[in-house]
Structures are given as structure tokens and as C-alpha cells.
Amino acid sequence: MLLIRCPWCGPRDEVEFRYGGQAGISYPSDPDALSDEEWADYLFMRDNPKGEFRERWVHAHGCRRWFNAVRSTVTHEIRATFPIGEEPPA
């Protein structure tokens, strides 16, 4: 089980969290202006790297807040967790 550091509650077991997939996908500011390809890209296409991945988690059974993490998809090591809108430490 992963040990995940919630930015507000500190380190907690993985079972307290839910996964949110790739971070930084924002809703298009003008959806009507998108082509079908762009809309498909927004809805369905996601990065799927073998290595560092910037992703979202929510502390579902704790403070219920969303945050971002940088985690390796090879070792599962979590390099950083940080509030949405901030950048991870270098």
C-alpha cells in the first residue's frame, strides 16, 4: 500500500485516497469553438508515461481535498505532493 502525504493532513494510507488521473487537464474555456478532434483530445487522450507522472489525488476519507502529486509509474515513489495551482519543488 502506498503511503501518501496529504498536503493538509500529512502521511496517510493509500486506502484513504481516491485517484484522479492526470493533473492539469482544464475544461476548455470555449467548448463550442473546439473541433471534434480537439474535443476528443480533451475528453479521452491522456499522457501515460513510463516514469514521472503528474497526477491528482483526493483525500476522500480525510479532509476531502484534492491535490497534485508527482509519482513514478515505475517505482511508485512519490516525489512530491502539493496543492493544486502550485508547482512541485524542483
Binding site: 483530445d41 501515460n48 497526477e55 509509474t73 517505482t75 511508485h76
Partner: protein
């Protein structure tokens, strides 16, 4: 009895050039190679595998075979596959331990019951055998299932596909490899694709591997969980996410379970292999991963469900757990498609349920690669469906226990 040292297939040195290079020597890659040669007369074909033959998901799945999917497009391709399974031992001249012992899909709440009945009716309209069993009939078919109404998630009934079952996964791979090899296909192990050969105009001309460059008229990706990694080398984004999917076996037991039992609601599926071990699959781990291992709480939850459904399993000892990397599509259906890159074809996105499709996927993918355009069975599974919105939503029939 064959000489134990004899190889089933010819281990080839890669030549400089082939008509078709298939990336991935798992079940799908090998069956694709076989059907390219058998159905289309294409024998100038090479299968490159980064590890050993069929050592990825082909060695890690729970070997369940069925075709009782909801939508017409899925029923067509999975039923095509099941029909191929039914003649495959004769076709390949190999004992695959293919056993049509019946697959139960349990329903645990009213929503389950309704969607199961709908699926049974849809299956029948598509010529796929399907029955609805009441809890008493479930107990008659599989006496060790606990159908007590006192369960947290009681068994309210089940669908049954009698033609469903299991097969010995390794032998399926060896059978395809042997017969493809007999027909002239080169199988090259320990050759990892690390890049692609592009012409001056950007045209795809082959693959770079750890055993040298191989030129190819066409490249067919059949790399399951690593498809995104390969596609990203070509700048191609795909609607795939790679997740760990875990499974486990118990120690060897006397025969106790003579069918396959699956439960999507409580996330467990189980059969008993010929040797005697209980083979069980869990749900996927939520996070993206290429690690071929997952978190233990997923196994714990799966065991809790298994012991509640099968009280007789409570004292069985766990022998081994493992994980594979499955490539999951947003609609839980595969992609069998040409791509925006000329001469590049992909067969991926089978997620948690590719084993049952091994013959069918190879058949239709070979057809696509040979003709350069999809046949009837492959057409709905093109990449284009994500743009035009024609998704094939099989979360109900596939769920986690695909």
C-alpha cells in the same frame, strides 16, 4: 512424448528487413503472426519480443474465456474468438487444456439483476448462448457458492454462459508460436524496440531494437500495457491508461470448483486449474503504473469477497500473487486500428480481458494489417470512434473482471 529439450518454435536471428514486423510476442502478437501467414499468405513476418515469449500479460492472466458482452460490436468479435477457440486444438495440433466448463457472472443487487437480464437477452439476439439462473439454480450449478440472503452482497442470481471456460495460457502461446514458426515467421526474443526508423519524408520504415535495426513494410503494435510508450516515440497520443492488474493462486487443492465464477460487484473471479490451484483475479489498482505489481489492500479486498462467497476457501493458503500491466480504454473496449501514421497499425486497449480474445484479435488484426483496411469485425474498434463519439461502452459486461 516429445523430447523435453525440443523447442516448440524456431528462435530466429533477426534479418534486416521484413514485410511485417509485429512488436510484442504475447498471445495477440503470436496469433496475429499465425493468421497473417495462414489466412493471408504473408510469411515474411517477424515478431519481436523484448523479454521472453509470452512472459507478459499472457503469463499473468486468469485464462477466462467467454463472449457474453452487451453490444453487437463486442458480441461479434468475442463470439468470433470463442468459435475459433472451439476449433483451436485441432487447428494448432496442440492440447490447450481448453475446457468449456461454464462461466457464471453473479448479480448482487437489483441493478446487477436488471443489467444481467438485459445482457442475457442481448446475447441471445446475437446468437451467444446465455441463461439466467436463480439463486437456487446457481447453487445447483455450483454448490460451493454461498447463496444465503444474509450476505452483505447476497447472490440474487447469475448469468451463465455454458460455452465459456478456461484454457492453459502458456500452451496457447506455444501453439501459435510453433505453427507460425512452421509457416516461416521469425520469432525474435530479447529484442526490445527502442525507437522507429523514419525516412527523410518522415515515413515509417521499421523499428530500432536492442538487437539491431529491422526494416519493415508495415509495423503492427501488439504491446498491451506498453503501447503508449511505443506510440509516444512516434508522437502518437492514444486514449490508454496503463494500470496494474493483480491475480493470485492458492496452493494445490483437491477438485472443488468445476466452473468459472465471476462477480463484478465484489471484484473477484475464480476458477480451479487442472493442477489444482484456485486462480483468482482482483480489480485493477486505481493508479497508473508500469511496475507489474500493485498494492496489497486490493488483494485483501478480493480475498474478503472470495471467502464470503465461498466459505470453503477460508482455510486455503495463498501461494503467490503477481501483477500485469493492462492498457485500459475509456469505454473498456479495445482499439484495432490503422493510425494517422502510414504503415502503423495498433491492437491494444484490451484492458483486463485480452486473453479470451487471443484467437479473434489475431484474426482480425492480421486481416487489417494484410489489407490495410479494417474488416467488418474490426471497423467499430477504430481510433476514430473517440472523435465521432461511437464509443462501445462495455463497462457493464467487462467491468473490472473483464
Amino acid at each position: 512424448m516429445a523430447d523435453a529439450r525440443a523447442r516448440y518454435w524456431r528462435s530466429a536471428e533477426p534479418r534486416r528487413s521484413y514485410d511485417v514486423v509485429i512488436v510484442g510476442g504475447g498471445g495477440h502478437g503470436l496469433s496475429t503472426a499465425y493468421y497473417l501467414a495462414r489466412n493471408h499468405g504473408l510469411t515474411d513476418v517477424c515478431v519481436v519480443e523484448k523479454g521472453w515469449l509470452a512472459g507478459g500479460n499472457m503469463a499473468r492472466n486468469t485464462t477466462i474465456i467467454r463472449s457474453n458482452y452487451l453490444w453487437d460490436e463486442s458480441a461479434a468479435i468475442y463470439e468470433h474468438s470463442l468459435k475459433l477457440w472451439e476449433g483451436l486444438e485441432d487447428e494448432l495440433g496442440f492440447d490447450l487444456q481448453f475446457s468449456q466448463r461454464g462461466v457464471l457472472n453473479l448479480a448482487h443487487h437489483l441493478g446487477d439483476v436488471r443489467s444481467s437480464l438485459r445482457r442475457v437477452n442481448a446475447n441471445r439476439l446475437n446468437g451467444v448462448d446465455a441463461e439466467w439462473l436463480t439463486p437456487e439454480e446457481v447453487r445447483a450449478f455450483c454448490p460451493i457458492v454461498n447463496v444465503s440472503p444474509d450476505l452483505r452482497y447476497p447472490v440474487l442470481g447469475a448469468t451463465l454462459q455454458r460455452r465459456g471456460g478456461i484454457a492453459r495460457h502458456d500452451k496457447v502461446a506455444w501453439g501459435y508460436a510453433a505453427r507460425a514458426s512452421d509457416l516461416g515467421v521469425d520469432i525474435v526474443e530479447h529484442a526490445e524496440v527502442v525507437g522507429f526508423l523514419r525516412g527523410p519524408d518522415g515515413r515509417l520504415e521499421g523499428v530500432r531494437t536492442t538487437r539491431g535495426d529491422i526494416r519493415a513494410g508495415r509495423v503492427a503494435l501488439s504491446a498491451a500495457g506498453h503501447t503508449s510508450v511505443l506510440a509516444s516515440m512516434l508522437g502518437l497520443r492514444l486514449p490508454l491508461q496503463s494500470h496494474p492488474l493483480q491475480a493470485l493462486v492458492s496452493v494445490l487443492l483437491e477438485p472443488v470448483l468445476d466452473c468459472v465464477v465471476m462477480s463484478n460487484a465484489v471484484h473477484v473471479y475464480v476458477s480451479q486449474a487442472e493442477k489444482g490451484e484456485l486462480v483468482m483475479g482482483a480489480g485493477i489498482d486505481a493508479y497508473n503504473s508500469y511496475a507489474q505489481r500493485g498494492s496489497f489492500h486490493v488483494i485483501e479486498r478480493q480475498m474478503a469477497a472470495a471467502v464470503e462467497l465461498f466459505p470453503i476457501f477460508a482455510h486455503a493458503k495463498l501461494l503467490r500473487t503477481w501483477g500485469g500491466i493492462v492498457d485500459v480504454c475509456p469505454d473498456a473496449s479495445p482499439i484495432i486500428s490503422a493510425t494517422p501514421i502510414e504503415n502503423l497499425f495498433i491492437n491494444c486497449g484490451w484492458g483486463t480481458g485480452g486473453f479470451k480474445a487471443t484467437p479473434g484479435a489475431g484474426w482480425v488484426f492480421a486481416d487489417l494489417v494484410a489489407n490495410g483496411r479494417p474488416g467488418e469485425l474490426a471497423r467499430p474498434f477504430s481510433l476514430e470512434r473517440f472523435t465521432i463519439g461511437a464509443l462501445i461502452d462495455e463497462h457493464g459486461a467487462a467491468a473490472v473482471a473483464h
